[in-house]
């Protein structure tokens, strides 16, 4: 599901997961578990804590914890600094956990893209290597 507005954009991914919120919360907030499904990190569940997410492709994201409501809501900034303005990314990622009969509805919303980021790859020489390194990871997972 993709939601759009004129100034900012958001991506929403929602999934029903057959585990209780407490268990999912651990996977979302304990660094060694976060590394297993997301990226290497130095996260701490403290509002205002600044940390990095390090992707396998060499990219480093600058993050800051914005919201911590144990077992309910987790939000942090998700910023990527790049020389090429079109590749700069300033966004906020918010996870929301809602208990259901079968487990938990996990919702991830990433918002704050600027319109010019649509053209991130319009230039032929803009970050090709990085782009395709990520692409390969996606391919490896979708097969």
């Amino acid at each position: 599901m993709i939601e759009r507005s004129i100034e900012t954009r958001s991506v929403v991914v929602e999934r029903e997961i057959p585990f209780p919120p407490e268990k999912i919360w651990r996977a979302l907030t304990q660094p060694h578990l976060m590394e297993e499904w997301l990226m290497k990190n130095d996260f701490k569940p403290v509002v205002g804590h600044r940390f990095n997410l390090r992707g396998d492709w060499g990219g480093v994201l600058d993050c800051e914890v914005l919201t911590i409501e144990p077992n309910k809501t987790l939000a942090y900034t998700w910023n990527f600094a790049h020389d090429d303005a079109a590749l700069n990314l300033q966004s906020v990622v918010t996870f929301t956990l809602t208990p259901t009969d079968a487990g938990t509805r996990l919702r991830m919303e990433q918002s704050g893209f600027r319109p010019d980021q649509r053209q991130a790859f319009g230039g032929a020489n803009a970050g090709w290597q990085q782009f395709f390194a990520k692409l390969e990871q996606v391919v490896a997972r979708t097969d």
């Binding site: 599901m1 993709i2 759009r4 954009r9 958001s10 991506v11 991914v13 999934r15 997961i17 585990f19 268990k23 999912i24 651990r26 996977a27 578990l33 297993e36 499904w37 997301l38 990314l89 996990l106 991830m108 990433q110 893209f113 980021q117 649509r118 053209q119 991130a120 790859f121 319009g122 032929a124 020489n125 090709w128 395709f132 692409l135 390969e136 996606v138 391919v139 997972r141 979708t142």
Partner: protein, 107 residues
């Protein structure tokens, strides 16, 4: 939409094919011969890669005398340009890994 993504991903996942496409993006129109000199693979192999790229809409060919000239069609990357669809794919696959992790975790 998902299909268009899959075709582009698969086409560009091959390093040799990607190198050919990048050269066309960087240096403009080229003949098969010129591409072969730099590609470190045989001319038939280059032709085959160009065929796959053409099928995906990533290159266009133009015949001139005995030569065929190829050029990149960067517009074909449009489905991948939109951050929102790319990030959606990213999070879907992260959620897959998260679910796998949860199955392995202790209560």
């Amino acid at each position: 939409m998902r299909n268009a993504h899959a075709v582009l991903f698969r086409t560009l996942a091959d390093p040799t094919r990607r190198a050919i496409f990048e050269r066309l993006c960087r240096d403009g129109e080229q003949t098969v011969g010129a591409l072969t000199v730099r590609a470190k693979v045989s001319q038939p192999a280059v032709s085959k890669h160009l065929g796959v790229l053409k099928q995906a809409g990533l290159v266009r060919d133009r015949h001139e005398g005995r030569q065929t000239h190829y050029s990149a069609q960067v517009g074909a990357l449009a489905p991948l340009i939109d951050w929102t669809s790319r990030m959606t794919g990213f999070w879907e696959s992260r959620f897959d890994d998260l679910e796998n992790l949860l199955k392995r975790m202790d209560q």
